[in-house]
Symmetry: C2
Subunit: 144 residues, 2 copies
DNA sequence: TGTATTTCGGATAGTTTTATCCTATTTATA
DNA sequence: TATAAATAGGATAAAACTATCCGAAATACA
């Protein structure tokens, strides 16, 4: 469903949010360890998220990544997915037709639209705060 | 959502079904043209579908691909997707966790399960006959 | 100021997916 | 039987995705 890059990006963002909530900045190394992702690859993804203004980075000693406390609840999964995977999930026909709409639908257009709208809805309404809180309270997990 | 291979496989199967409905066998060349897919790559995918007993092939002059008329309505999209992409869509965690279930869920487990169940439901209930009939009546299209 | 720490960014490598090419094999028909 | 038409299948190439490496730049702190 999501690319590996996107999976890592989402998990990393949750972990950063969780720590930023307590005013703690986290390093790449700590992130990669906590979300079980390859460090160098994760670095690339975080750079991407920084460029898209979803997370902040601080270089140098005691540097690391963080998220503006006030932003945590307004960052939706959608923003992360768009930053990393682009519009792929949103646009485009389920069967790869160049133009696929009500007037010229592919064979599964209607059925596919329903499912994608569900995914869209989910990504647009799920924010980092709720996901981070679930981790904090031990309801959900970032690895294993 | 689906791999290219899967997209081509579904469209090809619909086109074959459409023709088998009228007792017409179709060639690889005709299929690739009608579904706008690369010929050689499509050949590999069709071989796969033949091996999985979803479509039949006939070698030699006047050969081609066909589907048992009686099977057209019982072949679900699920069968095609499974043959080509395997269990990928069904199994596995949305965020790539090795174990992700009710007891040890990833942060998006519940939300993800809902969406995947929708997809699953769609693939399990959609059969080749209805899709082929929509093409036949000009309601939907296989290319462009 | 020097050093350790840490992100940034370019280059490169490995893996999977997508796509092509060529030969072998099978079959209908003249 | 010879020939043309098709699929089968192995080898290979191209592209995309995943992953690693290393030097540069920035920063805190002794």
């Amino acid at each position: 469903m999501f690319s590996k890059a996107c999976e890592y990006g989402i998990k990393a963002s949750i972990f950063i949010a969780l720590n930023s909530y307590h005013g703690k900045r986290v390093s790449l190394k700590a992130i990669a360890k906590e979300v079980a992702s390859p460090e160098a690859f994760t670095a690339k993804i975080l750079q991407d998220l920084v460029r898209h203004d979803i997370i902040n980075s601080v270089k140098g000693a005691h540097g690391g990544f963080e998220i503006e406390k006030n932003d945590i609840s307004s960052i939706k999964l959608e923003h992360i997915v768009r930053a990393i995977d682009g519009d792929k999930i949103y646009s485009g026909c389920g069967l790869g037709l160049q133009t696929c709409d009500e007037n010229h639908p592919c064979p599964v257009h209607d059925k596919f639209v329903d499912i994608r709208n569900g995914l869209k809805q989910m990504l647009e309404t799920t924010n980092l705060e709720e996901l981070a809180l679930d981790i904090k309270s031990g309801i959900s997990f970032l690895k294993t």
